[in-house]
Symmetry: C5
Subunit: 89 residues, 5 copies
């Protein structure tokens, strides 16, 4: 999983029918110090995340496991909202 911040949303009316009802979040990957890190991507929301929140997201073919229908063609999904990151022991 990677750490990211929700910075926006994408609207797509014409889409794969299995994606109807999905919320597309724009996720900015973050380094551990909170700095932007790599390019933004679009992930489906599965935990009610909103703009400004810091989240854990997955990418790749495990992403459908996070949505209701496991045959949904998504390759990124927000799976948790981060409370805290603890570095060191």
């Amino acid at each position: 999983m990677l750490v990211g911040k929700i910075i926006g949303t994408v609207i797509a009316t014409r889409k794969d029918e299995k994606l109807v009802g999905s919320k597309f979040l724009i996720v900015q990957p973050l380094a551990l110090d909170g700095a932007p890190n790599d390019r933004p991507l679009v992930a489906v929301d599965t935990v009610g995340a909103g703009v400004g929140e810091r989240v854990l997201y997955v990418t790749g073919s495990v992403s459908p496991l996070a949505v209701r229908r496991n045959d949904t063609p998504v390759d990124a999904a927000v799976v948790g909202i981060i409370d805290s990151i603890d570095l060191g022991g």
Copy 2:
């Protein structure tokens, strides 16, 4: 998912038989500001996208989930046509 723009098509007559009837679109990945971003790739169309349209596409092994036969060897698929991208809350 990533954001891209359709910039062309690829014709391949000799191909895996499960790909017969597929439309191969050349997708230029885009940054959020619309600038080209990374190298173009070839994705199958599943939503009737045409040259010049801005789309959402998936890559990797979830791509077959977007086409009719889930055993089709494709690793990129256009899954939505973007209406708008909203940054910020």
Copy 3:
């Protein structure tokens, strides 16, 4: 999918038994203008491609879908021979 050119072959006598009979092609990824692009990789042939031909290939876990036995451990496969690439509308 990505565009590549077949530039050679690999011979491996000792291999996973499910790979017996597979032809291993060295694929040079190409940019749309035909220039080399990224590092060569080894893909199994599924369409009778030969050295010098321009092909479409897939990578990752959809690759076994292109070969006869879907439990074959391959992570790249040539799935089409390109006739033409059309840029623009």
Copy 4:
């Protein structure tokens, strides 16, 4: 698999219900000489690894195979604690 070192943990109370009970470890990828290598990621623990330990981890869609429920949306998992790395014959 890749070699990494556990450098911290992530707490996420609101998350996919299949992730409840998972421990999220921050893994710093390491080069063979022990130097940091690439960006840290978050992996689920499956072997009782703790901060400071050097581990083997997997990424991608094999990661759910390392946890109890194979439909858990995780894309990185610690699968072993390294005793030694032996270079050369």
Copy 5:
């Protein structure tokens, strides 16, 4: 698949139980001219490869297809020992 050279081994006593008995090889990816190329990774051996041998390896979620139990959490596997690489027609 990619071309690599076995340059060492990793010992991990505490590990996922499905990995017990696996041999972990350190693979240095190679360019076609034999020069090191990208970072070393750890792959399971499935063909009896040893240090110094030039091999074909797969990465990602097809890797479990190369080992006996297809639910083993491995994301890289050596699948062949290279006899020769032939460039050109």
